[in-house]
């Protein structure tokens, strides 16, 4: 069967679509993670805590699906990437899972009992459920940028030779902190838009402003580090973008500064890091004045920062630090032509529908949440 889109185009589209799902996750569940990370610090009394929790209560469940679908889409469109990254980051993945399991349970069960100990314990569980994934997602991206220690044999079985502690290197930790700061800004911005004016919002705005400055600092530092420490990989053999998905048929070298070379080749890509900085600055101003500009800014910043990881590395997706030739790239680690095409059709049909009903839910729940409403019986 002749498909209407060629293989190379579909690979690039799917590279973009997984990016869209990850950005979708950062934009939606990102603020839930940020709000949960802020919970113990911006809300002191039980009433305040319920205000903060209920500002994200009805929506987080749908938001989380961006991550789950992102995992599914990675499995369907980039099976090598899914297989190698999830098994390689094994224990880190477990920690993320444990944190993400605590979160829904925390939301649902926290206010089912009056006991203060019970509630405080769940508040800390919610904090862990927000802070830990935010940190680990950043750490993971920091490691991907440096290259990950895996090899692939001739049957395409992958072996991974790093541990949990190897992930916690200085550059990756910097990326982790940048990620936490970014999501805290986003969470604080959501609180500024969603909850009533009062002490909770004031605290959130103050924490958010500090975090916005940290985002700018960490993000700039990571960029400089990327250039100075000479991270980057480059394909040296001729590659056929239409070629079969076998990652062992190319040669790759480690090359200092290669991660920044795309911005010379495709100047439009500079938009991504630019958004990262401008968005953070907008969020800072918005948080200072407590206007919706904060949320627009933090959303743009999250979009730009996540996108910039992808644009810096293109066409690499998961470079191997111990056998660079086995690195996974856009051209040689996707699913088959037919699967990419079928999944594109499904995505084109369902993503607009998802956006439509999500928008409807937002519309129904529109308006500032008051402490009184948040503490009524029909909430968490």
């Amino acid at each position: 069967m002749e498909l209407p889109l060629d293989y190379a185009t579909l690979k690039v589209l799917w590279w973009g679509l997984v990016g869209v799902l990850l950005i979708g996750y950062a934009l939606t569940d990102g603020y839930d993670l940020g709000v949960a990370s802020l919970l113990p610090f911006v809300a002191k009394t039980d009433k305040e805590r319920r205000l903060v929790i209920n500002s994200i209560g009805p929506m987080w469940e749908g938001h989380q699906v961006w991550l789950i679908t992102g995992g599914g889409a990675l499995f369907a469109a980039w099976p090598y990437v899914y297989a190698i990254s999830f098994s390689g980051f094994y224990l880190a993945m477990f920690v993320v899972l444990a944190a993400l399991i605590l979160r829904p349970v925390g939301f649902k069960y926290r206010s089912k009992r009056e006991s203060a100990t019970w509630r405080t314990s769940w508040d800390w569980a919610l904090f862990v459920g927000g802070f830990v994934p935010a940190l680990i997602f950043g750490v993971a991206l920091g490691n991907v940028l440096q290259g990950v220690p895996f090899n692939i044999d001739s049957t395409l079985r992958a072996t991974y030779s790093g541990g949990l502690l190897g992930l916690l290197n200085p550059f990756a930790l910097l990326c982790g902190l940048a990620s936490v700061a970014m999501l805290v800004v986003h969470g604080a911005s959501w609180l500024v838009v969603k909850i009533e004016h009062g002490p909770v919002m004031n605290r959130a705005a103050r924490f958010g402003q500090i975090a916005a400055l940290l985002v700018i600092a960490f993000y700039a530092l990571a960029g400089v580090w990327l250039a100075m420490a000479g991270m980057g990989y480059r394909i040296v053999t001729e590659m056929d973008p239409q070629g079969v998905a076998n990652p062992l048929r190319k040669e790759v070298v480690v090359e200092a500064g290669a991660w920044l070379s795309n911005y010379g080749k495709y100047p439009w890509m500079i938009l991504a890091p630019l958004l990262g900085f401008v968005g953070s600055a907008m969020a800072f101003v918005g948080l200072k004045n407590k206007t919706p500009l904060s949320l627009i800014g933090s959303g743009l910043a999250a979009t730009g920062i996540v996108a910039s990881v992808g644009t810096s590395m293109f066409p690499f997706i998961l470079p191997s630090s111990i056998n660079p030739n086995a690195s996974l790239t856009v051209w040689d680690s996707s699913s088959s032509h037919l699967t990419l095409f079928i999944m594109l059709i499904v995505t084109v049909i369902f993503v607009p529908l998802i956006l439509a009903y999500t928008a409807w839910v937002y519309k129904v729940l529109w308006g500032r949440l008051t402490t009184e409403e948040a503490n009524s019986a029909s909430t968490y």
């Binding site: 649902k108 369902f350 029909s378």
Partner: protein, 534 residues
């Protein structure tokens, strides 16, 4: 070669997390549908008691739903974490239904479930009912896609091995979609979910009636559960997922194993009702045999043959030998993709490639396997017969019991409108049974498929990640502690919510009074039967 200990540990972890996840799934599937029915009654009649009934079961639905979602994330990620080679080998086909499940179903239910709980005062009655309906639709569609993925593991249609990418690739997506095994599994599993919810609602309502509490709610709930449960219980048994068991050698093996049928019998084959399968000696001890029945059930005909375990092992031996040729051809193609002769051999033998991999348990290079090793590997295609045999019998027994129970329930509640106390007690104590049956069903489906992770394509031990045993033990301990704690909390919250009853306020008293129908319908103490309104 993959580490066999890591493979075993990873299997245990998968079984543990999947069976735990499936404690919550069936109730979500069924209760969401019952909520649609109950809220439908509210929208049509406008009676407050239906609203209270919907909200009460909705509370229990919420406690259950949240753990289903939370443990579902583990399932989505675990393939990549523990089954990395599997994910590479079949991701081209298997990944698609999982991704579609997210896009089509999970997004829908998870996005709208918030409105279902928080939207009562924000939405019109029909709009809220629509939300409840969409949550139920999302849950059930979710099951459809997961079972399409699982059905493909049992009957891998519409795909073939590509030696250039060393993996299975999709050739016909429609075949994957309309896989008869997947269809049968979907109907069977979803019906089992409906039965679970009906038993749950019937059992808890019976307890209320016995305690003389919340009678308006309880009696109405029982009426809904009795008719819904009767239809579902019939559907589970009649549309059992045995219909796909004639399709492939491995499905035939599963059928032969669950019936402990060692040799092929002349058609129509007899059924061993009970006995003790003896896997070493290849016979079933103390067997009670009924002639003809199995042939009739399994082939739906008088002359269809049901193949026995040992003849199927002989088939497997041939396929292993053929598979070795395919394996060598793939190695040659790996060296030189343009080797015409190897390509030709590969085309002739590719469907048996997976069988050569069974040898990798014993030798690194299947080409070097001797006769004895091939025989040993062929014998590996027999799953644990006793486990299949007994899990099937207990599952099916519970299934038939439910048909009887709901028929009686329907008679008492809907026709006679008078229910004896003994039946209410029985209904209450039946609550755990559907979960036992559902878990046994999965044990049968998944251990009966062994030694394959993808039937005839990839042996289970080949699919595992390159992890260390320590790593898997660490996560297994972690999951056990986390899941164990959550199970205790969940069950205690469930019991608490049931004891508090509808309209209960855990929080400061607020809008809309609660508990108005508590003890409001005075009935003489401990009558032998309880009257339902005509």
């Amino acid at each position: 070669m993959p580490d066999l200990i890591v493979a075993d540990l990873s299997r245990w972890q998968f079984a543990l997390t999947a069976m735990y996840h499936f404690l919550f799934v069936p109730l979500t599937l069924g209760l969401s549908m019952l909520l649609v029915v109950m809220e439908g009654a509210y929208v049509m009649t406008g009676k407050e008691v239906w609203r209270r009934t919907t909200k009460f079961w909705g509370t229990l639905f919420g406690i259950n739903f949240v753990l289903g979602v939370a443990t579902g994330i583990t399932m989505e990620f675990q393939f990549g974490m523990n089954w990395s080679y599997y994910s590479h080998y079949v991701g081209d086909i298997f990944g698609a239904p999982l991704a579609i499940e997210g896009l089509m179903a999970f997004f829908l239910e998870a996005t709208l479930v918030g409105l279902m709980f928080f939207g009562w005062d924000k939405l019109s009655r029909p709009a809220h009912w629509l939300v409840t309906f969409l949550v139920a639709l999302g849950s059930n569609l979710s099951a459809l896609w997961i079972l399409i993925a699982n059905g493909w593991m049992q009957n891998p249609v519409g795909s073939e091995f590509n030696p250039d990418t060393m993996r299975m690739e999709v050739t016909n997506f429609m075949e994957v979609l309309f896989n008869p095994v997947a269809q049968a599994k979907f109907v069977h599993t979803v019906s089992a979910g409906y039965v679970t919810a009906s038993v749950f609602v019937l059992g808890i309502s019976s307890w209320y009636v016995l305690k003389n509490r919340h009678l308006g709610l309880a009696k109405r709930s029982m009426a809904v559960a009795a008719s819904f449960g009767l239809l579902s219980a019939l559907s589970v048994v009649v549309l059992g997922d045995e219909s796909g068991y004639a399709l492939t050698d491995n499905q035939k093996m599963k059928l032969a194993a669950l019936e402990a049928m060692w040799e092929t019998e002349p058609a129509p084959a007899g059924l061993t009702v009970i006995g003790i399968p003896n896997q070493k000696e290849h016979r079933t001890d103390y067997a009670i045999h009924v002639p003809y029945v199995l042939g009739l059930i399994a082939t739906r005909s008088l002359d269809g043959e049901v193949e026995g375990i040992l003849p199927l092992v002989a088939v497997a031996e041939d396929r292993i030998e053929n598979g070795i040729r395919a394996y060598k051809a793939v190695e040659a193609l790996n060296e030189n993709p343009n080797d015409v002769q190897a390509r030709e051999v590969f085309e002739q033998t590719k469907t048996d490639l997976g069988y050569a991999m069974l040898l990798k348990r014993y030798v690194d290079d299947p080409a070097t396997a001797d006769r004895a090793t091939i025989e040993k590997a062929a014998m590996d295609t027999v799953p644990n017969v006793a486990m299949s045999f007994f899990s099937f019998r207990f599952m099916a027994g519970i299934g038939f019991l439910f048909i009887a129970m709901f028929a009686v329930a329907f008679y008492f509640i809907s026709l006679k409108r008078n229910v004896p106390r003994w039946f209410l007690q029985l209904a209450f104590f039946a609550i755990p049974l559907p979960w036992i049956a559902a878990e046994l069903g999965w044990i049968l489906a998944e251990t009966g498929r062994q030694p394959w992770v993808i039937d005839g394509v990839l042996p289970t031990f080949m699919g595992v990640s390159s992890l260390s045993a320590t790593q898997v033990i660490m996560t297994m301990v972690g999951f056990t502690l986390l899941y164990g704690t959550l199970a205790v909390i969940e069950i205690s919250l469930m019991i608490r919510a049931v004891k508090l009853g509808p309209g209960a306020r855990i929080l400061p008293k607020g809008i809309g009074g609660g508990g108005t129908d508590t003890h409001n319908e005075a009935v003489p103490a401990r009558p032998r039967t309880i009257q339902f309104d005509k």
